[in-house]
Symmetry: D2
Subunit: 257 residues, 4 copies
Amino acid sequence: MAKSRFEYVKSFEQDDSLLPQCWIVVRIDGKGFTKFTSAHKFEKPNDVRALQLMDACAKEVMREFGDIRIAYGESDEYSFIFHKSTHMYGRRSSKLVALTVSCFTGNYVRLWPQYLPNVTLQCTPTFDGRAVCYPTVEILRDYLSWRQADTHINNQYNTCFWALVKSGKTTTEAQALLKDTQTRDKNELLFSQFNINYTEVPEQFRKGSIVVRQRQRVVVKHGEDGTPVEREVSVPTVLHVDIIGNQFWVDNPQILS
Amino acid sequence: MAKSRFEYVKSFEQDDSLLPQCWIVVRIDGKGFTKFTSAHKFEKPNDVRALQLMDACAKEVMREFGDIRIAYGESDEYSFIFHKSTHMYGRRSSKLVALTVSCFTGNYVRLWPQYLPNVTLQCTPTFDGRAVCYPTVEILRDYLSWRQADTHINNQYNTCFWALVKSGKTTTEAQALLKDTQTRDKNELLFSQFNINYTEVPEQFRKGSIVVRQRQRVVVKHGEDGTPVEREVSVPTVLHVDIIGNQFWVDNPQILS
Amino acid sequence: MAKSRFEYVKSFEQDDSLLPQCWIVVRIDGKGFTKFTSAHKFEKPNDVRALQLMDACAKEVMREFGDIRIAYGESDEYSFIFHKSTHMYGRRSSKLVALTVSCFTGNYVRLWPQYLPNVTLQCTPTFDGRAVCYPTVEILRDYLSWRQADTHINNQYNTCFWALVKSGKTTTEAQALLKDTQTRDKNELLFSQFNINYTEVPEQFRKGSIVVRQRQRVVVKHGEDGTPVEREVSVPTVLHVDIIGNQFWVDNPQILS
Amino acid sequence: MAKSRFEYVKSFEQDDSLLPQCWIVVRIDGKGFTKFTSAHKFEKPNDVRALQLMDACAKEVMREFGDIRIAYGESDEYSFIFHKSTHMYGRRSSKLVALTVSCFTGNYVRLWPQYLPNVTLQCTPTFDGRAVCYPTVEILRDYLSWRQADTHINNQYNTCFWALVKSGKTTTEAQALLKDTQTRDKNELLFSQFNINYTEVPEQFRKGSIVVRQRQRVVVKHGEDGTPVEREVSVPTVLHVDIIGNQFWVDNPQILS
């Protein structure tokens, strides 16, 4: 069989390797999750189980791909930041996106029963993805700030929206009430009508999830006499803290070094 | 919170839309499947259950994305051919790759218990992916021929290799015996030593899986008196046939029309 | 001197090779030619000397790059069509654009005194350029039709505009008079007010310039007795004919074969 | 005439805009200049007139494109560094390359008689070009160091080579003598055989040409009484200095600021 006669088709693959020495962000995003969350009756405005499932998947992705330095998640999206010097898969954009989104999705389905044990998966969740390059640490930090600012804005809106809906408003009425309101207006609405102090809403919802590698002592085996043998290893860990200000980066210089 | 101050980072996303009027092939490929198949004790050279799982996932992908005209699978890889005129997700390469690979992986994990009911999933399967453009039907057919020729070559080699190994050779010995052999030599080896007539090996293994949409009458609901109501719908269907020759394409002109 | 320490910077060059088996159009376009033409007092609406200079440059480009099959020019722009199978400079977009535009510009300055002998070049003409891929002959022909249709529309408008201006209207008045007029209106205006039958305007202006290679007998040397020795060679030749209809392509099948 | 029917072909133009906030280097390079220099009998190893012509063209390019901060030239190549924040032509790679190479080539032909007044241009010089992105000032400086190191290596080799050839060696003999020699060997050869102290070779040849904008007082007009009116303007100026070390950049912080 003339294999060689057909092999020329390989030459149509075009190089999509990303510019060297730029930070690479792979962002994945749930496809059609409005429908997906309602089909599975996710709690509103935030479903802790679903967020923890997202975080668990992100940790698996970071275990799989060592060059990811930090990840940031909110709602049904997650951004993974590969170190600027990574040579993983020749920095080919499609490979990085495909592997990240595949690893995430596979874990989402696999870990589902662990985080939503009483909810049957009705359909297969799907995520899209993209890769973006950032030439400097400053711009990369602005990227992360952009996502965390987005989390704040969305969460504040959703907290108001669902409080109104749960109080009996229709979704259309709730939207109309929130139209053109500012941060201050929404905080007042929450406090005056629902006795919710927005600053007391859990940081998990207000700050999103930051996944970084932290040194932990873990038991790696047991000796013959049963004594646990510990070793310090690097473990993906989820935080809910501010990353827009400087403090986090001053405290954790190794992340983007 | 100054959202706008950070939004400029969106401008770093670069357009990766694929050339209009070209056929788009998204090929996905299992990552580290040598290890994955041995961890799950897949039968060698071919595990029917695993191949059927792959086919089931491909059918789900085709149900999800209507512009896929045909798919071709072998071993742990699958190629999905999007019609040249598709406008799906603006023909953005990263979106098409991400969604295809995500949908496939999610289904692989979700449908696993159905196809390998007695095998516990040990780790999360991951697939990589890429998108390639082909400007004409002729070159696209050469692409499909390339993959099917590859299936033949791999399957014939693997059939010999595992027959030798099962007969007591080490993997090194088996490799040495097959080095530089031609198609004819391998067929003779299979017949003389193992009484295997290669042309009688199931077409599923020799031809791979072709998934096309076929018109089928299906029961869509039942009337008040219980009478089934049928409608003709288009259903992704798996075939194991030759697609290198002309006959298949003469018989199925609608696929690439 | 540590050369090697710096050579890593080469790795930042990204591959921009164009999809195989697609027709490549390199279109160049005069930068700021409104100012350039008025600085050199080009005749309006068309300056034959300037158009012939453009054509001469296009012929030089075609002599330099044998894989160009046809070129089409109008006003201060020219499109060069490289055969779909060209391997010139690895089909790298930047190389093809740079060499085409450089060859054209160099000849424009060099041949200027030959075509505009009494006009001193006041400033250096500059052209921009781009490369575009077309997957099939049909779409490539639509590209060429697009340019020739554009020539017609522009030339008809300009013929009217300059007739009005030369008759005493201001440019603003001329623009106002032509606003929203159709082909038929413009033809009537030309005939009734200026006694110009548009179909008698030279085809050079109405059809633009098509450059193709034609077989010609040329004297390649002279024998000892002075007898000219002829040989048939392929020579870039300028035509002003319709290329939107089929006839031209039926008569010249070799161009896009 | 149905213009709109063809206009869809515009959609085949693919976006090639370069990553924001990266330094853009457009490097142009003479095509076939070995032949070109010998056709015009350029002096070897360096022809001052030809180098000055190159420098003059580079200055014109910098006058035309204000976002170029520095240019570096050697032999028949020139690199133009656009500021990382340039928005010129939407940062489209093909536009930047085409306009740079076109402007350079046009000036090369136009200024030729001024720099090589007694040499008739035999053929049209052509340059190719490419655009490369560098994410940081450090890497950009390494790029410039790479080119200047290259100048040194080439010039030292060529100085030896042509000294040997002019002394009666064939080009093959000269190549053989220089094979595998180090910097020290070449310096000794020059000194012992030709009494040339390499460090006394003009910096123009050893360092190449750096073009930067310098503030100069120029006469912009004359008053009614004939008094010259001066103004300080920024003028592209050619230097032949070291740019590998720090000093130049310490002294000229504005270039890459």
